[in-house]
């Protein structure tokens, strides 16, 4: 009897937590279909006009393009530095490994406002403010840890005898890494890259400081919209972001599944 009660309590709490977590998303998506200019939930009808509004508005299109550009360069930079760092940190006994790891991870916990202000000041003499590249470099500081962490996790579960098997059967050690290790840990790298992109796409404070308001990525455009005039285009744009994030998580899950060792038949 007790066991039954436990199950009920557990089930009820899971549902409650899920509702709590999903509530804002449900509200935003619901509000985006509102036929009137009011940002209200539940919507008073069903209309796609706010999505059409976004599709027809060059400002919004531009914001999406800026987000994509920054995100793409961020991802590239995160991979460029994160992959070798991930390999070095999990494969070799590097001096000061703990310190390096802590420094890398500090980017994840440092307050964004601090990173924003310091990046801005640092960029002034370099002329990197108001450039896409400048923002991408700043975002890659937050992207590299995701690549390092995910690649590290993949490498820890990678069986090093696979590399030995490749080498003893004629592969130069470098070639063994390229033909065996890389493909096997690739899902970890992909997941890290997706996370790096996502953290760039949703980052607001550093974007405001570095890009100002001339070129606006989505996050900044949303922020501006909230300050100027609240209407369901914001909800529609947010819903698109949620959709993109969902897509990314799905990809990440697929990549992870590809990495998981399948049970023997």
């Amino acid at each position: 009897m007790n066991a039954r009660i436990d199950v009920w309590v557990l089930g009820a709490s899971v549902v409650a937590v899920l509702l709590y977590l999903l509530f804002p998303i449900v509200v935003v998506i619901g509000a985006s279909f509102n036929p009137t200019t009011a940002l209200q939930f539940p919507p008073s009808g069903f209309s796609l006009k706010w999505y059409q509004e976004i599709a027809g508005n060059p400002d919004w299109i531009n914001a999406f393009i800026v987000t994509l550009e920054v995100g793409a360069i961020t991802t590239l930079l995160s991979l460029l530095f994160g992959v070798p760092a991930g390999f070095a940190l999990s494969r070799y006994r590097v001096k000061g490994k703990t310190l390096v790891t802590a420094l890398l991870l500090s980017a994840l916990v440092a307050p964004h406002i601090v990173r924003a202000v310091s990046t801005y000041l640092f960029y002034v003499p370099l002329g990197l403010n108001n450039t896409i590249l400048g923002l991408a470099i700043a975002h890659s500081i937050g992207g590299i840890p995701f690549v390092v962490i995910n690649l590290g996790a993949s490498l820890r579960s990678f069986d090093p005898t696979l590399e030995r098997a490749a080498v003893i059967h004629g592969a130069h050690p470098v070639r063994a890494v390229l033909t065996i290790t890389f493909p096997v840990v690739a899902p970890g790298i992909i997941v890290g890259a997706l996370f790096a992109f996502m953290q760039s796409a949703q980052e607001l404070l550093i974007s405001i400081f570095v890009l100002g308001t001339l070129q606006m990525p989505i996050a900044v455009k949303l922020w501006e919209g909230v300050r100027v005039a609240v209407d369901p285009t914001l909800a529609a744009a947010s819903s698109l972001l949620v959709l993109a994030a969902l897509g990314f998580f799905l990809l990440a899950a697929l990549a992870r599944r590809g990495a998981a060792p399948a049970p023997n038949a």
Partner: protein, 373 residues
């Protein structure tokens, strides 16, 4: 640097492997302690020993994954210590199979050919199919390793190791993860493959039956050293020390003292006072007064009919009898020592625990070993 010419792979004659005074320490602990071995070209040699005795380290050193701290490693009398593993032209089978999970069976088996040769596509396909046929896995080319059973994966792993026709094949407990029935089956197949190919096989195992049944020679390892190196019959029938005697098969080892040694043979006295005489010839001889261990294999012992008066019998008490279906395992107390032997259910008749028994022993097959070790 010397590189083995891929052309002479095709001859597939086995490589001779020689270790001369090789040592290796990990963080101050010796994993291999001054080992010398001469492995004949084309032979099947097992490295047998308990876990941690240095078998894998020895194998990895031959593969080139471990660099010796001292000593020399020679293939066909050519030093190979400075040649990196990928240029040694060796095939290797791992206990964990180590198949490449992102490649099909075909690509796994083709891997060594792609790394080492510039074969045309059709030749490559031919060689891969040949190797899969050798391990009886034709038709599995397009499967992925995760779609195969453990036994099939190990066959793929063998095909991959053999496809390049290496003159030396290393196997590290290849059957260790498989169940008994499959193990017995694959033992026979590996033996057949060895006969067909003529390459030198070095096989690591901690299973003494496996080592005895498959090998031309057995290297018994203990504590980073070679306890004995010889043919299966030699290490079983003429162990050089009590470790080898008890590691291979069942052994009754009784402390004894040599009371007389002459041209006729050696007479030893057991702790219960019984004197036994071993005929001279072949065996190790000790001077009178030496402390020794008397080795009596269970299969050289038998229950003696009550009443027979024979110098080749030992009197004792039946301590325990265990039914094994086709036979009984008997534990007999001889003074403060115990003997283990087998008896058929017919011989047991009305015997019961506690009864006095007489055990006949075969003097010609008993052995004397140095006491203490």
């Amino acid at each position: 640097m010397h590189n083995v010419d891929p052309a002479d792979l095709k001859t597939a004659a086995g490589a001779g492997v020689r270790l001369v005074g090789v040592s290796k320490a990990f963080r101050g602990t010796l994993a291999i302690d001054d080992i010398s071995l001469n492995i004949e070209p084309g032979s099947f040699v097992s490295l047998l020993g308990p876990s941690g005795s240095g078998k894998t380290t020895t194998l990895n050193m031959i593969a080139g994954f471990v660099t010796p701290d001292a000593g020399q490693l020679l293939f066909d009398d050519k030093p190979i210590t400075d040649i990196p593993p990928h240029k040694r032209n060796i095939g290797m089978v791992f206990q964990s199979y180590a198949l490449f999970p992102h490649m099909t069976v075909f690509d796994n088996v083709a891997y060594p050919l792609r790394m080492r040769t510039k074969l045309r596509k059709d030749e490559l396909g031919e060689r891969v199919r040949e190797a899969l046929q050798l391990v009886r896995l034709s038709g599995f080319e397009d499967r992925y390793p995760r779609q195969l059973s453990g036994g099939q994966q190990q066959r793929v792993s063998m095909a991959r190791a053999l496809v390049g026709r290496p003159r030396l094949l290393l196997m590290d407990e290849p059957l260790g993860a498989l169940d008994k029935k499959l193990r017995d089956e694959l033992q026979v197949e590996i033996k057949e493959i060895h006969r067909k190919l003529g390459s030198t096989f070095i096989y690591v195992t901690h299973d003494q039956t496996e080592a005895l049944t498959m090998s031309d020679a057995v290297v018994v390892m203990r504590n980073a050293q070679v306890a004995q190196f010889g043919s299966p019959r030699e290490v079983y029938e003429e162990p050089e020390n009590t470790f080898v005697a008890s590691f291979l098969g069942n052994a009754n080892l009784l402390p004894a003292k040599v009371v007389a040694a002459d041209g006729q043979g050696q007479t030893v006295r057991l702790s219960n006072g019984a004197a036994l005489t071993l005929p001279s010839g072949g065996r190790r001889t000790f001077i009178a007064g030496s402390d020794v261990m008397l080795l009596l294999r269970p299969e050289d012992l038998a229950l003696a009919a009550p009443g027979t008066a024979d110098s080749a019998t030992l009197n004792g008490t039946l301590h325990e009898m265990l039914f094994f279906g086709d036979s009984y395992k008997l534990i007999v107390d001889i003074g403060s020592d115990t003997l283990m032997l087998w008896a058929s259910p017919r011989e047991i008749a009305d015997l019961s625990v506690g009864a006095p028994v007489r055990v006949a022993w075969d003097a010609g097959r008993a052995g004397l070993l140095p006491a203490g070790e």
